[in-house]
Amino acid sequence: MGDPVTFIAKWFEGVLIGWGLEKGPTAVIMNLVGVIVIVAFVMIIDIFLVWVERKVVARFQDRLGPNRLGPFGLIQPIADVIKLLIKENIYPQGIDRFIYNLAPLLGLAPVLLLWAVIPLSPTTVGTDINVAVLYLVACGAFVSLGIIMGGWASNNKYALLGAFREVAQMISYEIPMVISLLIPVLMARSMQLNQIILSQNIWYIVAAPLAAVIFLISLIAELGRAPFDIAEGESEIVAGFHIEYTGMKFGMFYAGELLHALTFGGIFASLFLGGWRGIGAMTYPIVGIFWFFIKAYFMYWVIMWVKYSLPRIRIDQMLNFNWKLLTPLSLALLMVTAILDKLMTNVPALVYNGVLLAANIVIAWITVMILRKRSKKETPRVAEPRPIARPDAIVSTSASTPATTSQS
């Protein structure tokens, strides 16, 4: 009885076959019900994520957060949802109506798609496809597509700027993300998430801490959360891509963002923290769900911790950080890990993890040394006076070259 999910599924299948259904239609109905159950479950979590987010940010900012409705303000998110639903739907002038309405869907739906491959327990997994890790990357592309569509269709300069920033960020940070994803794949010899979890007798964060950090940074960038929230920088472009959205359409973007953060927490937990593994998870799979969510929420908390502690970085800093640090570092890491992994085919797990951990520490030390050397060169350069858009500077350049035509 340690596995109620499989038990209920078996029972339901039995009922359907008992009604005289064939094997084929039964499988179709079972899959449909599975999809509905997972989506409903995740969406209910999503409603309460609003509460979690508001409570946690309140603690970070030394406030109390929602505390009026119900115990600990638990009914607050439901009130929020009702408020969003009854708000007026405003269509700004000159929008592309179809794309404008489609974009919020693409903000939320791909996040739900991600839950199809995340194993909640040894037996509770949507589909255990053999390209799960690549599937995660593929779904990420759709989220960004939603943001671009929303930004473009709004017919608003701020929204379009937000969309541009999002594209620059997404294309850049996908590279270190995919490379750091390859390291657990390489160590587990599989792209199946359940297989990766099963081979983590020692969590991969021990053998690949640098890969975990790179993955964490690039997933925060993919989420577009602070310090990488330049796509919606409130103080610069007001709210970026969702500036023209009201009511539940904005709510979809917001819910998608929150759920995406928790989902990435779950993915991080599956790849580096052993997923559902924990005391008793092997014998009682239901315990695995508990461990999975503990780890996923912990990583969600880490993402929130980063978000509410760090200021936003500039777009040039964001690109420099990715292309000049994360990408070369992750490439070096992948090569070192692959070579060491091949050399240590028949060694005890303790030696294997120890050597890889040592290699990671050495790489981190070399990186810090290089960065220190560079900072000595960069500090005087940044301190130099910069060309600013003073009137005299503009006049002196426009005298030699004709002024560029201003865009209407």
Binding site: I99, N130, V131, A141, I148, M149, I171, S190, Q407
Partner: protein, 170 residues
């Protein structure tokens, strides 16, 4: 009809409709979005052929990278490329006849091809297609040479892009 055939027909209709919309929509951004639907339909065909890796690679590369780059470049152009001229010129009938002949020819060749009637072999559940693909790409008996040549080509393109974008030293 098996469920797979029903899915195939639905998917084929959607993909073809989207493909027609790609060439007929006047707004370039709309065309790019329809193109994404076409790519997605093709990914679904790969899934139906048990080629999970190809399907996911199709989504990652074509939708995640190429289509988004296309949208990005379209957005950077002025007046978002709204074309108001005629969509057909006086040679439309010639193009139409050529397309029909091509379609008839390809159909004729395919129906007379022996392998056209063979049913797809069932892949045993124990095969790890991703592993086989990986081994095939790096084994000397497989596709090692084309794989390496393609890699060299990509590296050359990368270096070329960096050289083009580099700041000119005075």
């Amino acid at each position: 009809m098996t469920p797979l055939q029903i899915i195939f027909i639905i998917n084929a209709v959607i993909t073809l409709f989207a493909a027609i919309k790609v060439v007929t929509s006047r707004n370039l951004v709309h065309a790019a979005l329809w193109l994404i639907l076409v790519f997605f339909g093709i990914a679904v065909f790969f899934v139906m052929l048990d080629a999970g890796f190809l399907a996911v690679a199709q989504v990652v590369i074509y939708i995640g990278a190429i289509a988004i780059l296309m949208i990005f470049t379209i957005m950077l152009t002025r007046r978002v490329a709204k074309d108001s001229g005629a969509q057909l010129n006086s040679n439309w009938w010639g193009g139409g006849i050529l397309a029909l002949i091509m379609f008839a020819g390809i159909t004729w060749i395919l129906t007379h091809w022996q392998r056209f009637q063979t049913t797809a072999p069932t892949i045993p559940a124990t095969t790890d297609s991703v592993r086989q693909l990986g081994v095939g790409l790096v084994s000397p008996n497989g596709f090692l040479l084309p794989f390496e040549v393609a890699s060299v080509l990509l590296v050359a393109a990368l270096i070329g892009a960096i050289m083009v974008a580099r700041e000119q030293k005075k």
